[in-house]
Each structure stands twice: as C-alpha cells, then as structure tokens.
Symmetry: C2
Subunit: 416 residues, 2 copies
C-alpha cells in the first residue's frame, strides 16, 4: 500500500477468527448433505437436542413484555436503576463476599468487562497473565490495547490447578512491573470445562499476598465468570466468591459478568464489571474510572437487557424460575460432556479434565490438521493453539455418542 | 487513598456529566410541582407534543416481530448479513459518494464509531480537532484514549463556517504531527443545530489537500452524522456526501452513523463506522483494523438493531414508511426550533444560527449561572462550556412559546 491513513500502531492489524472459520466450514457441509449428517461442534451457544437455539423461557417472556421506553430509551452510563446492585445478586447469589466493598458498572457483554479490566488496570506495554488454555480473544484484547498476554501451564501433571506454575509467572512479571493482572476463566472454563475450587482461588490470593509482601506493588485478579450458571449446582458453584472475603488492600478483584449465557442474551450485548476491594476509596475510584471508560467507549449499554435483569431479580418467583431453567440446560449439557468423557476414557482419548460447561478440549500439537481430518467424518470442531475445542453446549446427545472414538481415530491418523 | 490498584494513567479519572446533572434537577422539580409546570429542555431524544417518548412506528413494529434468533443470537463481528451494505444505503441514500471505495463495520452506537475513529486513526499524545461548540463526550473519548482535543472557532463573525479558523488549526497541528484528524458534527450539529453545506465540506477537503501537498502526511475527516435524518429534506441533506467523490488518497473519510436517532433506538446501542477512500487497499485495511478493535472492545453488536435495519432497508415500501415517519418528527422539531428562533430575534436573544436538529444553543460566559437562574422559571437546560443548550427535540411547542424571552431575562440577570 502506497499510503495508509491508519495510525502506525494500528496498521496491518487483522484477525483471522478460527471460530468463525470453523463454523463457516460446518455450515457449508450442512448445505451439502443436511444437518442431520453433520456434527457441528463449533457453536458457542446452547442448542437443545433438536439443535434448536435455546432462549430461557422466562427471559423471552419478560423481554417481549417490555414497554417501549424500557427498550428504546437511553440507560444511564453506569447502569439502569438498580442494575448495578441486582447484577451483583445475579452473580454472587448467596455467596456475596464479606468484609469488602463492591460496585458494578454495566458493560457491552463480558468482552466489554474484560476490555475495561485491561484498559484501566494495566499500562501499555505491560504483561497480563492467563493460563495456556485460554479464550482466544484475551490475546486480541491485549494486543489491540498494546499489552502482552503471557501464559502459565494451567494444570499440573496430576491434573490439578498449577499454582506453582502461576506463582513462577507472577514473580517473573512482578520482577519488571509495578502491578500484575491475572485473568482466570472459572467456573466451567472456556475452552476446557475445568473449574478452580474455592481453595484454588484462596491459594492464588494467598500467593499474591506473599508475592507482594514488602513491596508497594499491586495485583488485580480478573475472574471471568461467563459460564457461572452452567458450572454446577447454583449455590455450590458460587462458593468461590467467598474466597474474596477480607481481601488485602493491595489485591483488587474484578468479576467479569456476562448476560450472554446466564440470560441466553448473547446478541443483546450486556454484562457487568464488578469491583471487589476492602477499600471503600478504591471502590469509588473503580466506579468513577470505569464510568469514564464506558462513556468513552460505547456510552451506555442495552436498556432491554438491564430492564429484563432488573425485573427478574426483583421477584423471587422469577429468580427461582430462571434458575430452574438454567438448571435444566446445565443438566442437558452436563449429560453430553459426561458421555463424551466416558467414551474418551473407553477409547483412550486424552482430554483436559472436563468438569462442566459449554466446552471441552483435547490437547493436540497440530489441532488444525486434526480438525481437518475430522471433516472426513463430517465433524467440525474449533482448532485452538493448544488443541481441539468441542462445543458440547450445541451438539445433541445423539451426536456426542461415538464422537470421542472418531476424534481418537483422527488424532491417530495425524500422528498425535 | 493509601493504595490504588488502578494503573497510573487511569487513576483519579472522573466524569461529572453536565447533561445527567441538569436532567436530575429537572426530574426533581417535576416531582415537586408536576410535569406540566416544568420545561425540561435537557432530554436528548424525541418527545412528542404530549411529552411522550417517540418510537418510530415502523421500527417498533419490525423490532417486536423479530424471531428469537434475530434478537438473542450473536451477530458476526463486522455486522449481520447485509448490514454493512444496507447501513450505507441508510446513510448515503441517493448520494453515495462516487469514485471511491467504501465499507462499514457495526459499532456500539455512534459513540462506538467515534471510539474506533480515534483509536485506530490517531496515536496517543496526538491532537484531534473539532469546533469550539462540540458534543462534550468528544473530549472524554480523547482524554480516555490519551489524545488531546483542540478546537477552532466554528463560525465567522458573519455566522458562516469558519474555514480560515480550521485551516490555521490544521496547519498548526500538522506542524508537529504526521497526521491530523478533524471531527465535524453535521448536519444539524449537536449542540447548535448548525449544518455545513456541501460546499463547506468541499472547502475543508480542498484545504486539507493543499495543506498536505508536498508532504507524506495524511488527514482523516470524521463526519459525525448522528442527526442526519433530522437535518432537512431526506435527499437534500445527504448531498453533502457527494463532496466525498474522488477523495485524494491521503485523505480518509470516516462516517460515524448512529441508529439512535434515525431509528429511535437510543438504548439498543447500534451504529456503524463507514470508511470512504479512493484506495481499495485502504478500505480493506479499514475493515480489518476496525474488526480487530470491535473484537477487542465489545465483540459483536446488537443483533436486534441490525435485524431491524436489514429488514427495513431491503423493502422499498418500509424505507418510504420510515422516511415518512422521520419526516413527521423532523417537521415537529423544526417548528419548535423555528418558533424559538423567531422569538429570540424578537426579544434580542443572541443565539448560534439554528438550521435544524435536536438542539440549539445560546452563547454565555457563565452558562452554569444562567441555567441556575432559569430554575426560577422552572426551565431546565444544559450548561455547556460555550453556552446554554436547549433540547428542542423534547420540549413541546406550547412550552417553547415564551422560552426565549425567559432565557433573555435570565441572561440579563446574570450580566451576560
């Protein structure tokens, strides 16, 4: 190109989205031979066992009953009415962290929450840490904001959370930075279905406290809980938030909450960034700083989404109802993941321990080759850097059956 | 605060929103004495002469007829289906610029479009130029992204577009930067209701071409057309886009399009950034670069908004219908603005020339004092740096009557 009017830091940026690529290949095959003969394990939203897109009935009903002003008017920047409080109810449930202050601002989906967590809590040039199995956009977000993403090995040899690996990475980064930010996607981690226990999270916080001791440095832990409502029993899975009780002042926790999965409102684009700190001043700063960035990025967020959450979370009967619905789909997905896991064990297919959630993963050196080989069997998965991602959220149980063996066959054929 | 976990560049950020502040004061008075006795000229959306929130009937009907998947599923990052093409139809109408390439990406409202225009087309530390009368968030966006906002005097003494003033500012900035970005809010400029003629825009582009001649520098013109459909007759007002025909390669035009006003979808949060360039490669780069920033900021945008636009703009009958509806409300607002203008002339109240649109403005040195004085008459306006903003979009004609004289009285009382 002879001339570019794009600023130097942005020139040549391009994102080859592996998920959209894989999804396109599946759609093409479906057109050729029909949906019933194709296993499309690329879709990251819930499809029922008839492969029909699932909207939680309570959400659909409330959403469609909203008045014009509850859909089309502007919402305030930080959130509509009681949204900042009620979204915390939706997130924390009975496990609101104790001995800390909290607040929330509405964001454009979970992605928007991660955006603010990086933008306001790290500096350009700094390194953000996540595990080696990670949701690809974390890297795109870091790169676009001129931050680095670095990883640690998520699991130990015996398949537990690798605190020593994270510790080493944190200390390496703190050796050259005044602050460290860690993104942890839990429960029901995308892309593996792994979850940290409350003790694991306590372990991370204790490690950070020790790593910061005697310094003026700070740490930020971002808990990306996008799959919270599909990670296990409603209150059991939320116990992890009690690990945030009485946080030290130099550790700030940001919870990235998404309505995409919990309300099946993927395309409505709403979520929240929740701040947790034992310092009231730091929480006030959290609200001020993130409101400015909302104003400066997208202004306000979907009024319809916030109206829907506000109506549901002010009515105990509706809360029970939506929890029941989530639970139905959680169990539907769990059956699929469990069947895959069982069959993987039977045929000797090595996978990352799946606990729950939308995705499971199979480690592979050349995941692209494996995914292409799978096309012979009309199976479509997403090739990630560390392996193959299978979206059990969208593959009916009948098609899960036999899938592990076919992936094993493809892995063998590719010399994995 | 003893410790802050916010990164240094973001510490202490706070936005005192004058619009929300003024709106809150109006709401308080309404509760005290009733809506019929209060003139609330702070609301930036259309209210009819019964002060009822207006949703364009065609938009309401289509939106409420959408299938679940057209609301709740994810949309693709750049836009849903034909959206990138159809949003250009909605924007350009019969005045699509000739001899140039164009493309569009969906954004989170018009604000999201301005965000990308600043983020990808300027560097940190650089100066962005806009007129002295400007929509306040331009400054918040620039500051949050570590850019400077500088201004030129928008109008000459004889109330024409001040090209000499802009020229001087452009040359000053090009004296220290390799590129210059100018944001022009037209037609129906927020906050004054002023519009540039097509000749004014041609003048800006010719001036830029001359200013860049013999250098390797570049210019970006951001046309913020948020009020396009309330700026005059449908095709007449769009003629400004033909000023972009055969752009020089070193001038890139970004059009920030918003569905907030044109579709009365303020709280649904959708718009588009449209790129215009005579270079095919630069347009490809535009799409790639901005898709990455979408991915890294909010992921995808409101599916319902895009579905609605796609349905309407694929059906000539629906296009005519929505244009008719916009025209009805354009005329309603115009009557209000014209009455205010007439009465202002009668009582000797000096105002910025109002042509059309949601807002008009009265220059004042201490706009805050004037606005507070107006509270005595139960009139609520927004105090801006350069004067008082009156939202004629939301004040019924009956309340406009006499308002200019009351503002004149308040101005006199404040020694303006």
């Amino acid at each position: 190109m002879s001339i570019s009017c794009v600023a130097p830091h942005a020139q040549g940026k391009i994102n080859k989205d592996r998920i959209f690529g894989a999804s396109g290949a599946a759609q093409k095959r479906i057109k050729e031979i029909g949906a019933e003969k194709v296993t499309n394990a690329t879709v990251g939203s819930i499809l029922d066992d008839e492969e029909k897109f699932v909207v939680l009935p309570t959400v659909g009903k409330i959403y469609r009953s909203l008045k014009d002003t509850d859909i089309f008017s502007y919402a305030p920047i930080a959130g509509l009415g009681e949204f900042p409080r009620l979204v915390q109810e939706a997130c924390f449930g009975a496990s609101r962290p104790q001995g800390v202050y909290t607040d929330a601002v509405a964001t454009a989906g979970g992605t928007g929450a991660i955006h603010h967590a990086i933008w306001n809590y790290t500096q350009p040039g700094e390194t953000v840490i996540t595990s080696d199995w990670y949701w690809g956009p974390y890297k795109v977000l870091c790169q676009d904001m001129n931050r680095e993403l670095d990883t640690y090995t998520m699991l130990t040899e015996d398949q537990h959370f690798n605190l020593p690996g994270l510790t080493a990475k944190v200390r390496e980064v703190l050796g050259r930075q005044d602050r460290v930010e860690i993104i942890i996607n839990t429960p029901a981690h995308n892309p593996t279905g792994y979850s940290l226990t409350p003790e694991d999270v306590t372990g991370v916080l204790t490690m950070l406290e020790q790593s910061l001791a005697g310094t003026a440095k700070t740490a930020v832990v971002v808990l990306d809980v996008a799959y919270l409502d599909y990670g296990g029993e409603r209150e059991a899975v939320r116990k992890v938030f009690r690990a945030l009780d009485h946080l030290p002042e130099n550790i700030f926790v940001l919870v990235a909450y998404s309505m995409s999965k919990s309300f099946s409102m993927y395309g409505v684009r709403c979520g929240a960034l929740i701040g947790v700190s034992s310092s009231r001043e730091q929480i006030e700063e959290f609200t001020n700083v993130n409101k400015v960035t909302c104003r400066a990025t997208w202004s306000n967020c979907s009024r319809a989404a916030q109206s829907t959450l506000n109506i549901i979370y002010q009515d105990p009967a509706l809360i029970d109802q939506i929890q029941e619905e989530r639970n139905t789909y959680y169990r539907m997905i769990q059956r699929r993941g469990d069947l895959f896991t069982k069959e993987a064990a039977e045929c000797g297919l090595k996978m990352v321990p799946y606990i729950s959630g939308f995705f499971l993963s199979i480690p592979a050196k050349d995941s692209m080759a494996v995914c292409e080989k799978l096309h012979d069997d009309n199976i479509f998965c997403v090739p990630l850097a560390a392996g193959v991602r299978v979206a059990v959220c969208s593959v009916p149980l009948g098609k899960i059956k036999g899938m592990a063996a076919k992936i094993k066959k493809a892995m063998d054929a590719c010399g994995e």
